[in-house]
């Protein structure tokens, strides 16, 4: 399994605060990976760097077989290349229907003129129905996204992520604010997605991560503290000191 995404020696400083400190991390395809760590460990900043929102001061971020340098691409180009991101706070377009939200995310041409001329094909429609089924929102397809419950919005966002058909999914706290039943459903969704893609999940909830049953990377002060199975990292004394012990 060769690496799909390879981050090496990345550092970034905000006003003198070193948010990411010589971080190196890699993920293969397919793979499910959980990233944990205390607040301020640099988890979200790491995602910002990969998706092009933040430019690091040094280091390299390399993508795919052709070793594309992600640091030279814009956010939209990075998304088009196959990296999808779900934000910590669910951000769906509340003013628009669930269907429109999904349609916007569907993997189609993204230029203004092609979008202007776009007419949904039978395939597009079927894909939207299929996604809605998968995220349990079939009944709500024509409702405003703003009328959904918090958990449903999280799912819609995951659905939009899947609609993009990315090779790497970066998922920031997908289970925040969900009921136990919803959490279980979310775990299933992510595990299923990870059969064919690379999925990286940031999460605080240990039970959730245990259910994901995957390799875990622990971040601390902007660098990797430990990596391995959940049992392995939870036995690590340093991890217990900085994260679990508190």
């Amino acid at each position: 399994m060769s690496a799909l995404l390879e981050v090496s020696g990345v550092s970034v400083t905000f006003d003198g605060f070193r948010a990411i400190n010589n971080l190196s991390i890699a993920i293969g395809e397919p793979e499910l990976r959980a990233v944990i760590g205390p607040n301020g460990a640099g988890k979200t900043t790491f995602m910002d760097i990969v998706t092009g929102k933040t430019r690091p001061d040094e280091g390299r971020v390399i993508w795919g077989e052709r070793s594309i340098d992600l640091l030279r691409l814009s956010e939209s180009d990075i998304a088009k290349i196959g990296i999808g991101r779900k934000f910590q706070k669910p951000t769906v377009f509340e003013d628009q229907s669930v269907r429109d939200n999904l349609a916007m995310a569907l993997k189609n041409r993204r230029g203004p003129l092609s979008v202007l001329m776009w007419k949904p094909t039978a395939q597009d429609r079927a894909r939207i129905e299929e996604l809605a089924e998968e995220i349990g929102l079939t009944e709500r397809l024509d409702h405003r996204a703003g009328a959904l419950s918090h958990g449903q919005k999280q799912w819609l966002e995951i659905g939009m992520l899947l609609a993009q058909d990315p090779r790497l999914l970066l998922v920031d706290e997908p289970a925040a604010g969900m009921t136990p039943a919803e959490r279980e459903h979310t775990t299933d969704l992510l595990k299923r997605a990870a059969r064919t893609r690379a999925v990286m999940v940031i999460e605080h909830d240990m039970d959730f991560i245990r259910r994901l049953d995957c390799r875990v990377t622990v971040l601390h002060e902007g660098a990797v503290l430990a990596e391995g199975s959940l049992d392995h990292v939870t036995k690590n004394q340093q991890v217990i000191d900085v994260y679990l012990g508190r």
Partner: protein, 400 residues
Amino acid sequence: MELPRQTAATTTPLRRSFLRDNPSVLWFMGLLGLFTLIVTLLSEGMGIGLISTNLVKVLGMTLCLCLIAVAMDVVWGYCGILSLGHFAFFGLGGYAIGMWLMYARTEIVIRDSLGRGTIPPTELEVSEGVAAQIFGVVGSSELPLIWSFAGSLPFQLAMVVLVPGLLALVFGWLAFRSRVTGVYLSILTQAMTLALSLYLFQNDTGLRGNNGLSGLQNIPGFLHLPQSILSVWFFWASAFALGAGYLLFAWLVSGKFGSVIRAIRDNETRVRFLGYNVEGYKLFVFTVTAIVSGIAGALYYPQAGIINPAEIAPIASIYLAVWVAIGGRGRLYGAVIGAAGVSLLSSWLTGGGAPNIDLGFYRIVWTDWWLVLLGLGFVAVTLFFPKGIGGLFDYLVRKP
């Protein structure tokens, strides 16, 4: 027996027929057509004369203002760019057509007077005569470079589209690429408008400084026709332009494109992470609306008869935003209601048409109090009807 399998196509499609999805467009077109017919039948030039030529012009001009308001609604209400510069594009369209109107008409006059001599005038004499006639007022008798093709109608018509379009393209490219958004972008557009207006106020810019271009109501080639007929023609042209522009923008905002630009308005960062080039979309919308604004201006000023740099001053663009806000952002008919309502009310109250109110201890003179009324109206609408007047239609038509 085997039941036919339900195919994906039988489920609710994303986009049925455009007009079926947008009944308000049909309503609008119907009402616009009816209004045009009524005004024509009542006009002085073609009908029973109940509506004076002057009023026909005011109504035609109002239709042009509705058109630019619709454009403003697309750029602001749908795409979230509060541009305080669209009246600059409107003015540039007016200047572009005004140059031809003024040049061609002056040329006719000059040829006429020179032709009375025994020797027919040379082209140079004509061109010098025209220049002296047009630019005498700013103390010059030379034709500025930008007037080189002013005698050509096709050229100046192309300028109506190209000048606002290119300015919007270059300005937008610089501003959006640097990710200037929100209030900073508004200030930037306002600065552009102010700079353009101040520039045009100078006498040596080749557009007659603060005198502006005048006599635009006289259309070369139709000088023999009375204004009562011409005014109806321009009214028709304005109504047609408004209808076509409305249709264009309604189509633009109805499908997935509309979905994307509304998403940009609500959360542009998120749209970027979906893989859309946000800057490209903004630039597209900004430029298309600027071009339509230019066309609206090119129809407006021949009816107004005169254009000067004061028309481009930032206050005009601010009024535009106020119309759209009062009418209702994010719905095209709202912009039309706002622009028509407020501008007609304004000309009624400030044109001496409205009776002043004597309170005994104080006399409300509308020419002084109109702006106060507008300001109060604006505050009231934003406080009590954030969706604007157009939002009241939501109570009539319940949406699922």
